[in-house]
Symmetry: C2
Subunit: 325 residues, 2 copies
């Protein structure tokens, strides 16, 4: 009930009367009063004015099961939410849940990760209360070979979710780095359990730097946080909600073709490398050219003097030649 | 020490003296005598003749940690062996071990599975003491897209391992069904945990029907066992060893090109469909043609009247038109 009360207070234009809440949840005034008090103790600033009712003055950036449930507007992501004050890694947790049969859309969020993981087994710094650490389970009926573009779609959803919540302008560095003013704000780790021609499940992990006030010197050159860019303390639950809502939208479009066919335009719109000179670090022979957007398969189109080349995601790294990208 | 004593008795041409065993393992006569007694209690028929020593008369088909260690001749598969009298599923167990950091080559064998799994979530009948249920972990540095042919290589290794141990003639129904006299003797379930361009691990599960004396009516038309085909009770540990030894050999060859390039010939030699008419159940439009072997990518080449077609593993099912395949 607490998450529903929170949602009611949030969406209310002014005050919500105690009577209204009693009727909606079919409980006593005392039950409402108790729930409100617990919410206040948890850090929500709720004003009670006689003859008017309750009013939410401010909501702390407090991740909890209740908070996540109360902000949820998605249709199928987060029907099942697993919130942890601390866990090893939300991806590891989501993979275990998926193995044990958890449904498509199951969401895992943590306030702290003790073993956060980045790509290729790298560590992912995951301090308590600072950032977004979330993962969700997908169980799509698609060919395993068509799953790799989901990571591009996730980047698109993260960019849109952040823009909507913070007003910051986000770009994407192909294939899936979300950057603000040229610095990385988000990491995406897509993991997949498959049979040869069948997907058991996919877990998409998203880490977004939110409250970080600084980064170690080397990292500071390439990484940033929403606080550093916006100068404001953002609300993580709202960011999570906005990202997931955007993901659901793009995912539906993706499913129609199982590739980026109908998402090339929104993706290219955000592509930091678009029409810029890039250096493709092909292990065989590095080369330079002009990035011209993506193909339906999610490859990066690079025009060199000699030919049009298609860069597959994978071991090839693409660097911007000029500017910060 | 017991597995080493077993291995010594097995490889001996005649008797092995107690003194010899004492010296080899640097233990007392009594220790050897105790170990031999324990092996006898476990079901190994070991003869002790004064002034001659010990001699293994017969070895039961008894799966155990010791038995598996004693028959092992592979170089890296089975350096770590996890044997279970009973477990849910050797693939599930191997996946958990891989998640927890178990090494490339880790082997899981069970005498019984309570939740044996086939492809696409189907059940896999796994009675106690009847068949081979084994899975092993691979952690190769290859592109996820190159992993699918590993299932063809596994079929090749199973066919060779069974032939070597039982003398039965095995064929392969593309892509990975091993058949004896046209009936299926083995199931292979390859599962993979990946990041987009990086393999966390692969688990290959192999189930071989060994002692089954009959199958339920419908299944009996398509399935068989080594007992039904050879009329003999085979030794499962030896079959496991032979399959893994063959797998190691073919895996090394696979790694050179990360595809079937150098294995087309041995694979086609065993291909039941080779040069036969087949019906390709393409979901768009089924068609018929003559199977002409595989490509380096593991696709099946099918010549129709109009054109040469390449059938990818996956949702397409291929049926023999004449005969039992």
């Amino acid at each position: 009930m607490k998450s529903e009360i929170l949602a009611a207070l949030r969406s209310a234009d002014g005050y919500v009367s105690g009577q209204e809440l009693c009727e909606r949840f079919e409980v006593s005034r005392t039950a409402i009063w108790k729930a409100i008090n617990q919410l206040k103790q948890a850090g929500y600033e709720i004003e009670a004015v006689q003859n008017k009712g309750y009013h939410m003055v401010s909501s702390p950036d407090l991740l909890s099961q209740i908070e996540l449930e109360s902000v949820r507007k998605t249709s199928w992501i987060g029907e099942e939410i697993h919130y942890f004050d601390t866990t090893d890694s939300t991806n590891t947790r989501a993979k275990k849940l998926a193995e044990e049969g958890s449904a498509h859309g199951t969401l895992v969020v943590a306030d702290e990760q003790t073993g956060g993981r980045g790509r290729r087994g790298r560590d992912w710094e995951s301090q308590k209360g600072i950032s977004v650490y979330m993962s969700f389970v997908l169980k799509p009926e698609i060919e395993p070979g068509n799953a790799s573009t989901l990571t591009l779609i996730t980047a698109l959803a993260v960019a849109e979710g952040i823009e909507k919540t913070t007003g910051l302008d986000c770009q994407i560095k192909w294939p899936n780095d979300v950057v603000v003013n040229g610095k990385k704000i988000c990491g995406i780790l897509t993991e997949m359990s498959t049979q040869i021609d069948y997907i058991n499940y996919i877990v998409i992990g998203i880490g977004i730097n939110v409250h970080n006030e600084s980064f170690p010197e080397e990292l500071g050159k390439i990484a940033t946080s929403l606080y550093l860019e916006s100068g404001k303390k953002q609300n993580r639950a709202k960011i999570i909600e906005a990202v997931l809502e955007a993901f659901e939208k793009y995912y539906e479009i993706y499913l129609e073709t199982q590739d980026m066919q109908n998402l090339i335009e929104p993706y290219n719109d955000k592509l930091a490398n678009m029409k810029n000179q890039v250096r493709v670090l092909d292990p065989k022979e590095p080369y330079e050219g002009r990035a011209m957007g993506i193909t339906p398969k999610g490859e990066l189109i690079v025009d060199t003097w000699e030919a049009r080349k298609l860069v597959s995601s994978g071991e090839v790294s693409v660097r911007g030649l000029y500017g910060y990208t």
